[in-house]
Symmetry: C2
Subunit: 209 residues, 2 copies
Amino acid sequence: MPYEYITNAAAIYQKSFAIIRREAQLKGLSEREEQIAVRMIHAAGEITLEKNIRFSQSFAETSTKALATGAPILCDTKMVSEGITRSRLPAANDVICTLQDPRVHDLARTLKTTRSAAALELWKNYMDGAVIAIGNAPTALFHLLNMLEDQRCPRPATIIGCPVGFVGASESKEALWTSQPTSCCTVLGRLGGSAITVAAVNAIASCAE
Amino acid sequence: MPYEYITNAAAIYQKSFAIIRREAQLKGLSEREEQIAVRMIHAAGEITLEKNIRFSQSFAETSTKALATGAPILCDTKMVSEGITRSRLPAANDVICTLQDPRVHDLARTLKTTRSAAALELWKNYMDGAVIAIGNAPTALFHLLNMLEDQRCPRPATIIGCPVGFVGASESKEALWTSQPTSCCTVLGRLGGSAITVAAVNAIASCAE
């Protein structure tokens, strides 16, 4: 006897988002922030995520505008870059991940850091006005914050900084949220990850639900 | 003043796994199951995940052996297929995702289902003895279970079935866990996702921590 289930993708999204809006505490968010938070919660499968989501004041507007005007999206991992739904992007935006670049191995050795952090050194030509999406490595987010302490470093439009885990994740996101070198979005604490980060990018790319 | 943080990847993993082993309730798991569970918790950033992780009795052994003997890995999304660490794979195993195949659009229309579910129709030539990794779409897991009700359908060695979300995720995983058409691993409830699924694959691919 075959299992029966909803097979209409639009209906599944609609029902999922309705459940999230019913169960999550989303008061205090602007309409656009709510759309972004709903997608992040959807990707996490975790209603309580909303307690830890943070948007800087101009995040929703700045990030939406950046993508609409063609900003590239710089991603720390292929899981993030591959998760972004290309058909939602408003300006056929470039989606860039430098982690597999053959230069990264030597860069990491020279800089005495992780490959995830070293890969950001190859972002410099694309960083001006970019949307940055870090969903995995705390060391990448820390490295970015240190790069931005140098005022000559090109300034991204916005940072979605949601690394996940038990060592450095909370600390790096706290550092982002405290310093706010540009408009940003984060999930404080241990939770985070590529799916949540991708969901935020997909939400700022398009209002469509 | 630059931020200071651990930059040695091996040390970060070691410290993360030690925190998880200290905080999570992992008693009752075999040594190999514990390794897999630790990686899944690591990817989730959520200690309490362990309450919902389920391994069928032969999962650890069967899945490890399948990869060691060259089984392909069939993935529901590119986020899963791209997340699998190729250097951990014991037999240069094929990693296959058919979601972007140009035939999927028409298949979905013909079968009146989602693209995620329809993509599995293109797995049939690879399914015999395969490791299946479903980390996103409940409809894909339901479709797989229905395919396997037909005894002529090739039998995979093992199923890692961890879709995430609010509509069908719990139900599809409950159906997998109840029916167990083959050895399997799941995370009951709403939590799941590509990162957790990838972590399980990376753990069965190699014991290395």
